[in-house]
């Protein structure tokens, strides 16, 4: 299942939180300005298993959403926007 990239207010607030988390995890402050459509893996943010695990742990702590359990394929980790939409989606 793929999270839809939503642009509602809740999603936007989540986006800001996610940027803060990413910048803290990677030590790269430029991620504070990360575009929502930027891929989290590969040439985008360059997320790896460590930063990815830390990110999901923080997401679970701050938003109470267990992404790894709900999204087997981790498709929600495609971009910042898909992750924010996944977190903000009603459940």
């Amino acid at each position: 299942m793929t999270a839809e990239a939503g642009g509602d207010g809740g999603g936007r607030a989540v986006l800001g939180e996610l940027r803060l988390i990413l910048a803290r995890i990677t030590g790269d402050d430029e991620l504070l300005g990360l575009a929502a459509e930027m891929p989290l893996f590969g040439d985008g943010v360059g997320l790896d298993s460590l930063t990815g695990t830390l990110l999901l742990r923080e997401v679970q702590r701050q938003f109470g959403v267990d992404v790894a359990a709900e999204d087997l394929n981790l498709d929600s980790l495609a971009t910042l926007g898909t992750l924010a939409a996944f977190i903000a989606a009603p459940r």
């Binding site: 298993s49 930063t51 990815g52 981790l74």
Partner: protein, 396 residues
Amino acid sequence: MIKCVIWDIDNTLLDGIYLESGQQRPGVDPELAGVLGELAGRGIVHALASKNPPEAADYVARTTRLDFAAAECGWGRKSDAVRRIIGDLGIAPDAVAFVDDDLFERAEVAAAIPEVMVLAPEDAAEAASWPEFSPPVVTDEARRRGAMYAQRRRRQEEARAFAGSRDEFLRHAGTWVRVGPAGPADLPRLHELSVRTHQFNSGAEPVSEAVLGELLASPRHQVIAVRLSDRFGDDGIVGAAVAETGEAAETGEAAETGEAAGTGESASWSVPVLMMSCRALGRGVIDALLAWLCQRAARAGAAELRVPCLVTERNVPLRIALTGAGFRAGAGARDSDEAAGAGGAPQAVFTRRLSGKLPVLPDWAAGRAPEPPGSAEAEPGSADAEPGSSVTGEPA
């Protein structure tokens, strides 16, 4: 199996109390000094938890000439110190023993973390002969484990003080990941990895040395080892994989992994064994291994690479690495009960098409060979390294 012993200092490791001894510091209890060395030789790491200033830990390390993987000095609860050490080392609580002369401290730790084995100093010597303290296989990596944790501490301290990003630090540290064929001398370590790894292990069952030996001899399989070092030290073999390169052949040898023989799809490589030590987390090892597998499989003409993987809470880091390398779990794989592992955990087959852009080794991971301190002696198994065993090298 106990992987780490956390020691109190005053009246436990030391014959006296550090702060009350004035100029003449107390010596290390001779019997426990022997136990420390014996256990370290079996790959069990030591840590300190003491109500003392940090200098006490330095003093004990100097006096015993041992590497302590972690040291928690302070005046808080001992159970909190034990918890921090467990978290820091990434060790399960039931793999930890705690030794303290103080009955109250032992009771406090036992009540707070019941999984931890709690011992009085007078029992520690005898406990060394218990099966929990006697791993069946002691590899070179195991013997150096204490030193590696000490290196890791120095690496982490320097990383914290480093001004750049994590990638810049890994480059700065001279991180060097080497992927290549495993040799017979590597099999005990590969077996050990299959027993000890969980966060980065695609399966559930340990793979025996005998099975690994058969896979090594099998023309349809490649057994791959990953070595890691940087200028802080040499971690030896930290990861491994078995690739089934076969042409949809019946592969009885691989039956233990639960991987069924192919269904006529000849252009696919399968990876029945994939594992990495969590000690290597965040240093590019799993990414390098997946990149290597993709590149090798593509060169051999395979159209896709398949990684059967249990779906558990513990191996989320591995699933993130697979996703990051472009793998996707097969639809409906969750429902196939016959593919479930021993623990009943659902299994998915993560598949990656090998067309288009393949994952590559992070540029910092292929750094120049660092000069780890005291690396004059040859690394065991290095004779098996071939030209081109590095990800960036020429195909073998």
